[in-house]
Symmetry: C2
Subunit: 217 residues, 2 copies
């Protein structure tokens, strides 16, 4: 059974998409190895010929698992959910599952792609902070509204789901770009609820093997 | 049973995200009603107070179904797949399912959000075409590479999946922005394979009730 070979996660300490997957792996108690890919060293190792064969989108995460390579964080997380059903990260109810994925997609399609490193380089040094803030604010307004009808203790009800795996890293990004989070009380409450959860804590950028010492707080 | 009430799809004729869902509904033979939302009339009906209550992201599609409102095209499609299993659009094999979702996510997170109307307005008239072409080219290089190992007759194997529902509308967008598609022979082959499929045909922008007469070709 290929499950006995540990999955390898291609990850960058500060990448919010890698972080999502790290949280899911931790919550599901799936042992894994990390191969760090530096998004900044020598113009970005993700653009090397070697890595392009692993992920043609030239970004992290990617994962070797069960004899294949998978890319795209949400696709990886859904695969983990289907093949490792222990500690489910999607609720059994169909509508609640849709509500979880709705929040995942707003973050993964509606916020993160507009403020990721590749796009910000393209936007340019001068405008990049305002640009990132604009799209995070817009997306968080929608997430906050969705949470107002779905949230219990966490994003959807009282169990941790894939939506929480996506939300917490995005809150970290929001703080990096100095987004004022006070208009988003539910997001802030869930972030506080989870910041010290051991599975979120050990997936945090500052606890990654490739986190530079000067960035550890 | 709430299935007897027809779902309502909030849709715009040229929105590639609405189009994805229309194809999935057609393939699954789910009868539905369309409520057109004009993304251009009076600055965009998606920004109205009334529509913001339906989708706080202020974009289409959104769907009233089974007594609830769902947003985000992929989340809607996964919900249809789970609740209406007839004519499956995800293969049974776990790895193939991941391959389908990988392509869906590259398009839904890696291409479409960077070239949608809201972002292009923000980029500005002068730069918007080059901007859109750049991100579509980058994404299609990745999609073409992924297809080189997953495609049969369609994106993943020989059955139509959600990946095809996402790909065909994105090819249409690529043409709108005059992307040279010759470097993407597998994408072009699948597009030709599906352009006259009745479920894709009737979901096409030119066959929508809100398509302006002058745009019908």
């Amino acid at each position: 059974m290929s499950h006995i070979i540990k999955p390898i996660l291609y990850s960058y300490w500060r990448s919010s998409c890698s972080w999502r997957v790290r949280i899911a792996l931790n919550l599901k108690e799936i042992p894994y190895d990390i191969k760090p890919v530096s998004l900044i060293k020598s113009g970005g190792e993700q653009h090397s010929n070697e890595f392009r064969d692993i992920n043609p989108m030239e970004q992290v995460p990617a994962m070797h698992i069960d004899g294949v390579t998978l890319v795209e964080s949400l696709s990886i997380m859904y695969y983990l959910e289907e093949t490792r059903p222990q500690r489910p990260l999607l609720p059994p109810d169909f509508i609640k599952r849709a509500k979880v994925r709705e929040i995942c997609e707003v973050i993964a399609s509606g916020i993160q792609p507009l403020q990721n490193l590749t796009v910000l380089i393209h936007v340019g040094e001068e405008k990049k902070n305002e640009w990132a803030k604009h799209w995070i604010n817009r997306g968080f307004r929608a997430v906050e509204k969705l949470l107002s009808s779905s949230a219990g203790k966490y994003c959807v009800g009282d169990e941790i789901t894939l939506a929480d795996c996506c939300l917490i890293p995005q809150v970290f990004n929001a703080r990096r770009f100095h987004v004022d989070l006070r208009p988003f009380p539910i997001i802030l409450r869930i972030d506080r609820e989870l910041e010290n959860h051991p599975c979120f804590r050990s997936a945090h950028p500052s606890n990654q093997p490739d986190c530079p010492p000067e960035a550890i707080k």
